[in-house]
């Protein structure tokens, strides 16, 4: 037991982020969705911690819900209990966090929602949202797809983990915009890839068997998109197939450079994290912060990719 305690203490001290507590230090707690599930979230966390360390007046408490809504709710409770100055939440589920956010609101602790937004019902309880506009990203992807196919074709879609907000919003943005803008493009089928490259690859392989003609593939992120691309390459059918993703990953960027991948949406976790922290600080400083703070997530395609740095994840 004593060994375990030492281990506990040791592991805590390695991440001790707290600057010496002083009177004007603000304490901000963050509970993230699922660090480690993909590089985006991990890079986000690192960027967030780095940004906080750079600011001597900020002390942060970094928690991770591991993708479990219930655990995230209890983490919000724990943060309220510790009486932090502000809470940043990356919701595991936009709906389910509303009461927790409402509780924080009642306790007078401002809440900033990051990355994926809380449901409509919770908007009145949050101080601000900071992050990408996932619906808009879906729309961007639909527009790129439409443009790449010239308004005609048959496509398939590989979505993220079923039931998660980001996956749902991107799909919704894409589906609605595509139907509206490009009635000539038909979606053959939609199946999940669980944010997992290998599973996306398997899904795509089945699509390839099932459909003789696939002109385009939209994937919920580049990680899955590259999985789909791998499947098409292996089947020798990648030629002429349009691959559109979202959240440009390094692998997607490289594939784009090779001309195999058509386009994606550029979304930097570093920007995301910095924006979240800054929004929280602005709120605490009493500034007038708008409710919705979307940071820019531009389209990235083979043509304009040299304007962007290769993603670090």
């Amino acid at each position: 037991m004593t060994n375990k305690m030492k281990f506990l203490l040791a592991s805590c001290s390695t991440v001790a982020l707290a600057a010496a507590a002083s009177a004007d230090t603000v304490r901000i707690g963050i509970t993230q969705n699922n660090v480690g599930i993909d590089s985006y979230q991990t890079t986000y966390e690192q960027a967030f911690i780095a940004a906080a360390e750079a600011n001597p007046d900020v002390e942060v408490i970094v928690l991770d819900a591991g993708g479990d809504v219930a655990r995230q709710i209890s983490q919000v409770q724990d943060l309220i209990q510790q009486n932090v100055d502000a809470i940043i939440i990356w919701p595991t589920d936009g709906q389910a966090l509303v009461p927790a956010v409402r509780n924080a609101h009642r306790e007078g602790i401002p809440v900033v929602v990051t990355n994926s937004n809380i449901a409509e019902a919770g908007m009145e309880f949050i101080a601000a949202f900071s992050g990408p506009n996932n619906i808009q990203q879906g729309i961007y992807s639909a527009e790129m797809m439409c443009e790449a196919l010239g308004g005609e074709g048959q496509i398939v879609q590989v979505t993220g983990m079923p039931g998660y907000t980001t996956a749902i919003e991107r799909q919704k943005g894409f589906d609605d915009r595509l139907a509206e803008m490009c009635p000539g493009v038909t979606q053959l089928d939609i199946q999940p890839g669980d944010w997992n490259r290998e599973r996306a690859q398997r899904t795509m392989e089945t699509f390839l068997t099932r459909f003789d003609r696939i002109d385009g593939v939209y994937s919920g992120d580049d990680n899955m998109g590259v999985g789909a691309l791998n499947a098409a390459l292996a089947a020798g059918r990648a030629e002429g197939m349009v691959f559109i993703g979202a959240t440009n990953f390094a692998v997607g960027y490289d594939a784009m450079a090779r001309g195999e991948y058509w386009g994606s949406v550029y979304q930097s976790p570093v920007d995301d994290a910095r924006a979240a922290l800054q929004t929280a600080l602005d709120v605490l400083a009493g500034e007038d912060v708008p409710k919705l703070n979307y940071f820019d997530t531009p389209k990235i395609t083979q043509e304009n990719m040299d304007q962007f740095d290769r993603p670090v994840f």
Binding site: V35, G36, D38, S39, W195, R197, E198, T209, N230
Partner: protein, 324 residues
């Protein structure tokens, strides 16, 4: 009446509940989708099932030995992240042996706790599931790992290559299945595993080194995971930290579907292969039919229960359990 027929005429058929179910499904799917029985599709399903299949071979041996292994999922994440990450750092010719050794170490920990210390395998491997998941994340810092030069490396042959037109994963899976089948049915070690799983006390009374046998089953399981990781890493050319999450249950479902008894002492490698293919074809067939992905869960539910039920019913000679 089914009941009497089960006992009298058709034990040969009834005992092959999985085979019957398999054939029924193949026929049903091929009627509903003309793509289903195409050579391309069958090859693609075989290739897809190789990763789970290779893992299921090892787990079958563990289960015949009377234990469970729930840690294979996170072990797969561990091994894949390791081999992909090391690929660019020390080259594939070193990355593979290092990864295999590291994975075997995890298997040895399982084997030590369960075989030597005799702790309950369900709980130990449940604990290891969590521990290993943590280790992966600590190792990678939570970042995805990728192989930079995806085209140039010979590492690609394991997941993407083909020999005589047959994809390498299928060849690896098939070879291992045959090898393990031969080991389990014709070699002393296989006999020992059956004995230890069937009656650990009696096997000690027969001079069988029970601890060592159980230990070995976990090493084999880890080895299978390592092989699966090579296929997976080479196929994807990258890895996420949770890539194997949930595989342990899919693997176990395949093993159960193959008729291996969770009580230990009986089971067959070849029937596990059938179980793996069955699950893969269900998944594939339903997608081909345009069903939403979650129908496969519902179908799997029914198939597992019916297949195992037939198996159990054939063994006891009556359809329904005699308990009041």
């Amino acid at each position: 009446m089914l009941l009497t027929r089960l006992k009298a005429g058709g034990p040969a058929i009834a005992k092959q509940g999985i085979l019957v179910a398999f054939v029924v499904f193949m026929i049903a799917f091929s009627l509903m989708s003309d793509r289903f029985l195409s050579a391309d599709n069958i090859m693609s399903v075989f290739r897809q099932s190789a990763i789970i299949g290779v893992m299921a071979l090892g787990v079958t041996i563990v289960v015949i030995g009377g234990n469970l292994d729930l840690s294979v999922g996170s072990m797969l994440s561990f091994a894949t992240v390791l081999v992909v990450d090391l690929h660019d750092k020390i080259g594939p010719e070193l990355a593979i042996p290092v990864m295999v050794l590291a994975t075997l170490c995890l298997g040895a920990i399982n084997g030590f706790l369960i075989g030597i210390l005799r702790l309950n395998s369900l709980i130990v491997t449940l604990g290891m599931l969590s521990v290993i998941q943590g280790l992966v994340l600590i190792y990678s810092g939570g970042q995805n790992v990728d192989i930079a030069d995806q085209r140039g490396t010979w590492f690609a042959m394991f997941g993407r290559g083909a020999v005589f037109g047959i994809a390498t994963p299928i060849i690896i899976f098939g070879t291992l299945a045959v090898v393990f089948h031969v080991i389990m049915t014709t070699m002393p070690f296989g006999r020992h595993v059956h004995a230890v799983g069937g009656n650990p006390t009696a096997s000690v009374f027969s001079g069988i080194p029970r601890s060592r046998v159980v230990f070995m089953t976990y090493l084999i399981s880890a080895l299978c995971v390592a092989v699966a990781a090579i296929i997976l890493g080479s196929r994807v050319m990258g890895s996420q930290n949770n890539v194997g999450q949930g595989y342990e249950l899919q693997v176990l479902a395949a093993v159960i579907l193959g008729g291996t008894s969770l009580l230990g002492g009986s089971g067959s490698i070849l029937r596990t292969v059938l179980g793996v293919l069955m699950l893969a074809f269900i998944q594939n067939g339903l997608i081909l039919m345009g069903q939403p992905y979650y129908t496969q869960w519902l179908v799997t539910w029914a198939v597992i229960i019916i297949a195992v039920w037939l198996d159990v019913a054939a063994k006891r000679g009556r359809l329904f359990s005699p308990i009041a």
